[in-house]
Symmetry: C7
Subunit: 95 residues, 7 copies
Amino acid sequence: MSLKPLGDRVLIKPEAAEQKTASGLYIASNAQEKPQRGEVVAVGEGKLNDNGERLPMDVKPGDKVIYGKFGGNEVKIDGEDYLLMRVDDIYAIVE
Amino acid sequence: MSLKPLGDRVLIKPEAAEQKTASGLYIASNAQEKPQRGEVVAVGEGKLNDNGERLPMDVKPGDKVIYGKFGGNEVKIDGEDYLLMRVDDIYAIVE
Amino acid sequence: MSLKPLGDRVLIKPEAAEQKTASGLYIASNAQEKPQRGEVVAVGEGKLNDNGERLPMDVKPGDKVIYGKFGGNEVKIDGEDYLLMRVDDIYAIVE
Amino acid sequence: MSLKPLGDRVLIKPEAAEQKTASGLYIASNAQEKPQRGEVVAVGEGKLNDNGERLPMDVKPGDKVIYGKFGGNEVKIDGEDYLLMRVDDIYAIVE
Amino acid sequence: MSLKPLGDRVLIKPEAAEQKTASGLYIASNAQEKPQRGEVVAVGEGKLNDNGERLPMDVKPGDKVIYGKFGGNEVKIDGEDYLLMRVDDIYAIVE
Amino acid sequence: MSLKPLGDRVLIKPEAAEQKTASGLYIASNAQEKPQRGEVVAVGEGKLNDNGERLPMDVKPGDKVIYGKFGGNEVKIDGEDYLLMRVDDIYAIVE
Amino acid sequence: MSLKPLGDRVLIKPEAAEQKTASGLYIASNAQEKPQRGEVVAVGEGKLNDNGERLPMDVKPGDKVIYGKFGGNEVKIDGEDYLLMRVDDIYAIVE
């Protein structure tokens, strides 16, 4: 099974939870959102502008990205966890 | 009886509740919205832009889709449950 | 007395309350809005876009429609209850 | 004294309070807004679009209209109560 | 000292407080905003649209106007109270 | 050290606190925002419209201006207090 | 490891915490946001307008900037703290 994200959405495979503490809890942070890392698995065709044209997507499959903790929706595919989020919720590409 | 969704709305037949636990309750989730699956039954003609033109719809009848738990409105047709939601609330097509 | 809805508004005659229980109460629902049914009685000329042009209306008098429970304003005409709502708050046409 | 409403505003003379109960209280309603009736007394020149052009007004002096209970601002002219509201807060014309 | 309002702002000299009761308190009102009266003293050059052009102003110095109670910011000039508000917060011109 | 404000932002040197009472506290006000005075020290190049063009700025260095109490962000330069705010949060020029 | 910010985002290296008190706490402020300083490390290609064109970025790597305390998201790169924020959340360039 695979997913084709719609519009400006991106499918991301989150990195393993190395940010967790030994006890399995996330480290508290003062920041409202804690950026996290993952790899882009699939991207939508782009957002439709008001003329029905697609806007370009800033990421492609294989990109390692940083994103906000609350920016996406969790989905399970073949027993593994993925995230679906809008491309504008991705902060940066890791190079 | 059948429904013709208006504008950018989509009629979806949700999958059977295999995500329910044995006791019939939904599994708790940290995520604000739990994506769910269903099949597109009917689609509207598309959203009107400010020039009165229709924007294309990204799904078609027969597509299996992932959508957010709170993205639609429940409606009962001939005794069965359906959802009516805007196409932008559909996250991805399952292939 | 009759009403001519303004702009993108629609006048709807709700169906009789067959969704009520025997005791006269509405059945509780998990959904935030419970879609309801009615018949379109009159439609406005359409929403004005920023150029002063009218956008087309997706429903016409006689259409049976599904709409959200909280999408309109109740009005009494000659002793009967009607709803006035914007066309975008109508979900689908029943065929 | 008379008022010239600005932009897309409309001056309305509300109908006498025949919707009040004998005790002078308004009848409770489940609806969030209870539509009310009145007569259009004066209308503004229309809303300015972003090009500085006026959009047409959908009502004219003399029209009997239905509007929401919370859609306007009360103003007293020569001892009588009037309402000033935007034309988009008027639901329909009574014919 | 004089003030030149910026953009779509208007400088208004409120009328003397004849709406106050003898005890100096404002009369309670059911309406969310109580319209008030004043005279336009100075007007800005108009709001900039997205092309950098000015939109016309609907009032001019000397106009007597009705405005909402909470629509402006108080400012004291040479010991007298004035209001600075956006022209869209002015409801009507008194003629 | 000097600051070059970005976009539609303006750097303002607030006037000395003559509005303070003898005890050093601000006088209470019924108004939600109390306008204050200062002098424009530096202005940004202007807001970018959607075509990447700059919109004109309505103030220039040296202008004495009136602004809302909560409209800007405090910044300390070489031990003195300044405010950085958007030009639209400036109400008027004092002449 | 390095980061390439997306769209209108900027990567900033905050200045050392000289604004902290001896006890390591931030000084309380009446202002809703306390501007802070840092150096721009990397900038995105610019925001996409509705035609798919990039808008220019007002900062470049090496610029010393002032920004709001709550305007960005913290990210750790090779053990050091950085901020990712939209260019519009940067107030000014220090010269």
